[in-house]
């Protein structure tokens, strides 16, 4: 085997790329993982993970220089002093916003697995069946039963803590012991469950933080500093989980600074032969060859790679024969919910910083409920006691003020919605050939927006939040409903959707590109609908399932 020949190539090293590398190497394939950005080594490179608040010159805040350098990231919470190095350099890698789209990217080994929210939920059959029933988009080529064993498989390895709540809308998984609700959350949960007679439920979040030691990883230490990288390996990331497993096989090569510019396609065999790589450091071009390719560059960048590939056969790129490549971009719409204060419980507090909250699974458009929109939403949230930044109306300054702020304030409870966005053909990414990035490569243009279904849903998302909190005894409730901006959910999905028909989808039911059977796309781009659950666990399951299939097909000589 020559230096540039492998059994498998994995493009991208985030949540799904890490899984692809682990599965393929464990099944004996010599694999190279190509990552466009720098390396980040587990623990050693988490340079801010154990710093105290006072060790940050701006205490975690954002400087005017940061705001200038990060015109996209500044739009929401990710821009902060503590993990700035985990976010893409926006000057080097611009994109065109036909309409506002907040694209928060991490270009480094581990990708956004280092900074992700870690909420991990299975989809249910109602999610996989929804497109067919509603006549929206294309029918998913798989159902829950196809993915259920793979959910179990990835949960057991990744380590998902959660309670088995027995809810059909949110299937239970193979969980580690759940984290605990605090006293106020328990009270609110009981009241909601009681008021809605079990038709609405508040449960503890199911989260990829391990609650018992697992695979040489220390259980979560309740620091709640996950997004800085965890020196304990307390949450699932490529670095803490899949990468060590893949490396242990001896079959993995990781190549950082490797921008895959195209997949090399042989029109005679109708298969990919490898990839072309632009070295981001020395600007040299290299080729790598393999029997099977997993494309896991993240939803929008995987579409970009495909659009740049096999253009001699299909002007719009590999996988474009259906006319759907780059289309049907989705995200979860959020920034809507309610919160208020909770009387009492002054003799209760909490110990530790739980890196998790509560979850209220979808309850709309279920069991006979019919709204003026389709699909639904879930909520995340939590209860806590106020800290020193609260207002104390009757005090201005001085000793009493200081001592009062040194004690916790009253309890408050809030929830924020995550709503399903439908797959609209016209919501899309495409190549903007008028502009180039730092490396002279064409950049992506994004043209996507929420529509009437999402806007109608948001009215319920705000009102239902208020109503449930009221029924749970929460006081002084305030609603919020910000302008829905796609991208803010950081759950991009759907630019190379799976389907049953090559005429209307980019991938088949095994995440294979219809037009190149040895190319598998198993990140968010493969999603045919968005549901309202956080999607990463589903990418993990799809990836493990596709890798298993790919290796079997390889053995059979089918690819």
């Amino acid at each position: 085997m020559s230096a540039n020949n492998y059994d498998a190539i994995v493009i991208g090293s985030g949540i799904s790329g890490g899984w692809a590398a682990k599965e393929l190497t464990e099944k004996g394939l010599k694999t190279i993982m190509l990552e466009r950005g720098r390396n980040i080594e587990h623990i050693k490179d988490y340079v801010n993970a154990t710093k105290a608040p006072w060790e940050f010159p701006h205490r975690g805040g954002r400087t005017q220089q940061m705001i200038k350098d990060y015109p996209v990231l500044k739009r929401d919470y990710p821009l902060n002093e503590m993990n700035l190095d985990y976010w893409v350099n926006e000057k080097e890698s611009p994109y065109t916003e036909v309409k506002r789209f907040d694209w928060f990217r991490g270009y480094h080994v581990g990708g956004r697995s280092l900074m992700w929210g870690r909420q991990s939920y299975r989809w249910a059959d109602l999610d996989f069946e929804a497109n067919l029933k509603d006549g929206i988009g294309v029918d998913w080529p798989i159902r829950y039963k196809d993915l259920a064993p793979w959910y179990s498989y990835v949960e057991q390895f990744a380590g998902i803590s959660g309670n088995r709540d027995g809810l059909s809308v949110l299937p239970d998984g193979d969980f580690m012991p759940p984290m605990e609700m605090n006293v106020v959350e328990k009270d609110v949960a009981a009241r909601i469950n009681n008021h809605y007679k079990g038709s609405r439920n508040m449960i503890i979040g199911r989260v990829a933080n391990i609650t018992v030691p697992h695979n040489n990883r220390t259980n979560c230490q309740y620091r709640n500093k996950c997004s800085l990288g965890c020196p304990f390996g307390g949450y699932f990331s490529t670095q803490s989980s899949t990468l060590p497993a893949a490396k242990a096989t001896g079959n993995l090569t990781v190549r950082p600074w490797s921008i895959v510019t195209k997949i090399l396609y042989d029109k005679d065999t109708k298969k990919a032969t490898g990839v072309e790589v632009l070295d981001a450091e020395n600007n040299q071009t290299y080729q790598y060859f393999a029997k099977v390719i997993f494309l896991n560059a993240s939803t929008m960048n995987s579409a970009w790679v495909l659009m740049n590939s096999a253009t001699d056969v299909w002007p719009d790129g590999l996988g474009s024969s259906s006319g759907e490549l780059g289309h049907n971009l989705m995200d979860h719409h959020l920034g809507v919910g309610a919160g208020g204060t909770v009387d009492g419980f002054e003799d209760k507090y909490y110990y530790g910083r739980r890196a998790n909250g509560i979850y209220i699974p979808r309850f709309r458009n279920l069991n006979g409920d019919r709204r003026d929109y389709i699909r639904g939403f879930g909520y995340q949230g939590g209860a806590s006691r106020e800290g020193w930044s609260r207002d104390i109306a009757e005090m201005n300054i001085g000793a009493g003020f200081k001592d009062a702020l040194s004690e916790p304030g009253g309890w408050s409870m809030g929830v924020g919605g995550f709503g399903e966005t439908l797959p609209y053909h016209e919501n899309r990414v495409y190549l903007d050939k008028t502009k180039k990035d730092k490396w002279g490569l064409p950049i992506l243009a994004v043209d996507a927006t929420t529509k009437e279904n999402e806007r109608k849903m948001r009215i319920d998302m705000a009102n239902d939040a208020q109503e449930m909190l009221e029924n749970a005894g929460v006081k002084n409730i305030k609603q919020h409903n910000l302008e829905p901006v796609l991208g803010r959910g950081i759950h991009e999905m759907g630019t190379a959707r799976m389907g049953r028909d090559p005429k209307t989808s980019v991938l088949n039911g095994w995440n294979q590109v219809w037009d190149a059977k040895n190319v598998f796309v198993t990140d968010g781009s493969s999603m045919a609908s968005s549901a309202c659950q956080n999607p990463s666990l589903t990418y993990m399951a799809l990836t493990a399932r596709a890798a298993d299939y790919a290796v079997n097909e390889l053995k059979k000589g089918n690819i």
Binding site: P53, M179, E180, K348
Partner: protein, 190 residues
């Protein structure tokens, strides 16, 4: 990336610049000479800020803002995190603060007795609270609100603030959602 983490920190200071001419009163005894951002790091300005901070968060059973050196922190934040417009409001505000001291007590802030400083700041805080209540969304913040927020942020995130005024647990190791609390127990830092 935890969306809940984004909530709860002190509001970032935004807004444009509107400034009355009232402070151009002649004969006012100024006790600070910070005319630009670089001046914020002069030892006398840092001391001025520390005295301001100490008036807002004085030493009690726990050290005050001066012990946390919030004076230096305020300069860093104004220099690095404020827009030029807010920097101007802040710098002009320091002069207004001295003018208010002169009006009320006949001398600049630094020359006031602690009790008079407290009286002065209670008045200024009432003023900023009134202003904040009625201000439009895009109006700038009141300078005294800026000073107060920087003091609180600087103090409660400092080593002194985290470990003495509050309880700091770098590695809690466990979670207890039903943890006993009695009045006087300190809040957790972070």
């Amino acid at each position: 990336m935890n969306r809940r983490e984004a909530v709860g920190s002190v509001a970032l200071l935004l807004g444009g610049s509107i400034l009355g001419a009232e402070f151009f009163i002649s004969g006012c005894k100024s006790t600070n000479n910070a005319d630009n951002v670089a001046d914020l790091f002069k030892p006398e300005t840092v001391l001025f800020f520390n005295e301001i901070g100490e008036t807002i968060l004085p030493e009690t059973k726990t050290p005050g803002a001066k012990a946390a050196n919030v004076g230096e922190f305020m300069g860093v934040m104004v220099r690095d995190c404020y827009t030029p417009k807010d920097q101007k409001i802040f710098l002009d505000g320091l002069k207004k603060l001295d003018i208010a001291a002169n009006k009320k007590f006949g001398s600049g802030f630094m020359d006031l007795k602690p009790a008079d400083r407290t009286t002065l700041f209670n008045g200024l805080d009432n003023e900023q609270k009134e202003y904040t209540k009625t201000k439009k969304k895009d109006d700038p913040d009141h300078y005294f609100r800026m000073i107060k927020e920087l003091t609180l942020l600087g103090y409660f995130t400092s080593e002194v603030g985290c470990t003495q005024a509050l309880r700091y647990l770098p590695v809690p190791g466990k979670y207890d959602g039903d943890y006993a609390y009695k009045p006087g127990d300190k809040a957790w830092a972070l």
